[in-house]
Symmetry: C2
Subunit: 252 residues, 2 copies
């Protein structure tokens, strides 16, 4: 597993370099489900690069990835969950605040996760048998603190409609930050910057964070407090296990 983890680290750095080297060309932008759900030719090229490299090294392994309908189940043997560019809108419009994500499962057990903040060159990785680190420095387990001295991560559309009661929870905290990348929001939780994160996201958005988070006292749950399905887009919370009951007073 150590070899596979090292391979994944090298791969995610290569994907990041590829994005940085190619992000200034004229992106071909396509709309998926609507004008605000975008994909670029670079998302696809980066996923292709990752799939190709993994397939060469581990030809028996399966894929569950954001683009091109590569959707194996995570209990289908050895499965790589890939998000070539998490925060595609930020990537297109801001040129920052986006990430590459890799999660690796064996028979539905998460072995390691990686989230690479491409423009800040920070790699969050670990989980399973590996320490969770940011650029090699260990991240601490969750330390308790009051909601009223904490920030949460979410998105403005959910706040506008008080989805899941997130606006109610927000009023009990110092505020809600919306940075537009599930991966980087989850990293802020892992770093102790946000106390929790809430969004409507897909398995490739939360898989890597979920594997790392488990090691540090965090858990990914759906709206009803169940494990998410790892198949569809769902309302998700990424919260400290120790804070779950308190948060569930507001999040319903």
């Amino acid at each position: 597993m150590e070899t596979k983890f090292q391979f994944a680290k090298e791969l995610i750095y290569e994907a990041g370099r590829y994005i940085r080297d190619n992000m200034t060309h004229n992106l071909v932008i396509e709309e998926k489900s609507g004008f605000d759900d975008l994909v670029t030719d670079l998302d696809k090229a980066v996923q292709e690069l990752m799939v190709k490299r993994i397939h060469s090294a581990y030809p028996e392994d399966h894929f569950f990835a954001e683009e091109d309908g590569l959707v194996s189940d995570i209990d289908d043997g050895s499965v790589w969950v890939l998000d070539p560019i998490d925060g595609t809108v930020n990537f297109i419009v801001q040129g920052c605040d986006f990430a590459v994500m890799i999660a690796y499962y064996e028979n539905s057990v998460g072995q390691f996760g990686l989230i690479y903040d491409v423009m800040n060159d920070i790699l969050y990785s670990g989980g399973g048998q590996f320490d969770v680190t940011a650029n090699g420095k260990s991240l601490p387990s969750f330390h308790d603190r009051p909601l009223r001295r904490s920030l949460i991560g979410g998105n403005s559309a959910m706040c506008a409609q008080n989805v899941m009661g997130i606006a109610d929870l927000g009023r009990r905290t110092l505020g809600i930050r919306g940075i537009g990348s599930a991966g980087l929001s989850i990293c802020r939780v892992l770093e102790g910057r946000f106390i929790a994160y809430f969004s409507n996201i897909a398995p490739w958005d939360y898989a890597a964070g979920s594997i790392m988070g488990e090691k540090l006292g965090y858990i990914v749950l759906d709206l009803c407090g169940h494990k998410p399905d790892y198949k569809t887009r769902q309302m998700i919370m990424f919260v400290p296990q120790a804070k779950l009951k308190e948060i569930q007073k507001y999040i319903k």
Copy 2:
């Protein structure tokens, strides 16, 4: 004026260093108007440092600053508008995404503004007779693009209540980002990352950005489309002049 601008740059770097050197000590946190309106001993110390340096160099000049009730009018001769730590909550909770801000006025005419992103070590400065730069690199004037291919900056509490129609405008764009610092949000507009920014803020929050923005085609206005009063906290928009009419269809 060149000398004064250079002085301001050196001062803001000194303030940033002071914050970085002292931010790990046990902060003394006080509540101002409520549990979510915070100030620390470091906000006060940094302001004191800046006021002392300016007073030594320019003993006749006046101050309009966030802490300690230093509130000269901006038409009161030579006036320094100071925000020692913009984004105090981010500073306390996240240890990032905060800024130091300086604006300088002579008889109510903005001469230059500076916003220093302390943890990323990026200084945005200029306006008046000076080029607007980020770490010395010129920032371009506003270039037009459609709202549906743009992000806006705002805050989640305003979205939750659709204040000023910001949630309505948000639905016409690719989304709303909330980073929790007026200064850094304004910088994202100046960099072309957000197309506009909306918040309920005070003069020290928008003064520096307003001076820089004017040079690049942006304008600071209140809810009704008037120049803000430069005295009280107001609902403010920081928008491209060329986009004002289109934005005002939603922001009311």
